[in-house]
Symmetry: C2
DNA sequence: GAATTAATTGAACGTTCGTTTTATTAATTT
DNA sequence: AAATTAATAAAACGAACGTTCAATTAATTC
């Protein structure tokens, strides 16, 4: 046989991407065979090579577009305000929302880096570093303004990002907690972690609304 | 050829374990071939099968012993005190120290779970859950005693563990920060995150020693 | 020192892998 | 309706995979 009735390159390519993200997230890149992927799409393995020249090209494309999406999402969500607390809140909310929405793709982008060539790895890491730098800048600005208490900006940024991204490991939509509840919890944990104070002069620390503590 | 002079089963098995942890951490379980592992040990691939009946048996052994080591380490480090702050501090310090010391093995145990059979996966997850439950208990006790401010015990435990374990991703011994500095930072971040107060009646929140804030 | 056990090699097995090539048919253009 | 282009199938390629087996030698036991 050959070309099938109703076949459409655009649709097939989209189906390949979708199936690949899901399969790689579940089995791992090395463990997923091109034949398995093709079967999931409903096509023969050879057909995949019309859209991606090699298996690694497929992986790289998925990762690059994921990272580009993350940077684009943050650009769109980044607030105009200069207030570090507002900016940090926006960063956390965007990060949680984006990663919950794209659990599988995040898994792929975080776990399969070692399957990329050196050059492509560098390219992905550059995007990741740019994204992390946004958080470091917020933390530094907040520390300099005195609204955050942070020992080490770089360390804190890494700790926060790993804490937030970790949500994809245990969170399943539709279970005990809603996305809004999870986001609210991570937001208040973040604010407490960085020792944030509400910046409108009330000097009230986050997450202590039910406590009654006086600083010595 | 056959048996080589000076060959010793005990030493070879230890060398296989060590090389396997390092290779799997670097390349991934699926990507590491038995021939590659054998070459690293300085032996032919067939020799590996004297010590581990299959590749998956090797992986499982490494993971099980890693998890057993983690549980043992915590049992040894667990303080007698009932004070939640003391217990949480001990948990954090033990977790950071253990994971920095065994970066490669942790990588393997966290990333290669999907290569285990269902039964063995369950076995590993059971150990992991037991370890995490220790943290949840500390958080719950602290929340009930009023020394921690925690929205959701389970969520907070997961967030903390992911934050702490994430240290292995970016931390390299001998670079900018010492192990002691990193541990101290994670400890203070943790205490702020859970809204801990020093438990000897001074009611002073952690990490705010330089601030001057009054709770409304 | 002979017999036994421990440790390893080298070769091979069948399977699966990513990928290429060629042929074939559907859809589109002329 | 003929010509061209797009999309696929079917078959095959060599290489690498995990694993097994028989042979061989070192170390140990008797």
């Amino acid at each position: 046989m050959a070309r099938t009735t109703g076949s459409d390159g655009g649709k097939t390519e989209a189906a390949v991407r979708e199936a690949a993200v899901s399969l790689i997230a579940r089995l791992g890149y090395e463990a997923m065979s091109m034949r398995q992927l093709a079967a999931e799409v409903g096509v023969q393995a050879a057909a995949l090579y019309r859209y991606f020249p090699t298996k690694e090209d497929l992986l790289f494309t998925l990762m690059r577009e994921h990272m580009e999406g993350l940077l684009k999402a943050w650009e769109a969500a980044r607030p105009a305000s200069a207030d570090p607390v507002t900016r940090l809140a926006a960063y956390v909310e965007n990060h949680i929302a984006f990663h919950i929405e794209r659990r599988h793709a995040t898994h792929v982008s975080n776990m399969e880096l070692r399957s990329l060539s050196h050059e492509r790895l560098t390219q992905i890491l550059k995007m990741r570093t740019a994204y992390e730098k946004e958080l470091r800048t917020i933390l530094r600005d907040g520390a300099e303004a005195g609204v955050f208490q942070v020992d080490d900006t770089g360390l804190t940024a890494m700790a926060l990002i790993q804490m937030m991204t970790g949500v994809i490991v245990w969170f399943r939509p539709g279970e005990r907690l809603s996305v809004a509840e999870v986001t609210a919890s991570y937001l208040s944990m973040t604010m407490r972690l960085v020792g944030a104070t509400i910046s409108h002069g009330t000097a009230r620390p986050f997450g202590r609304r039910r406590g009654a503590l006086i600083e010595a």
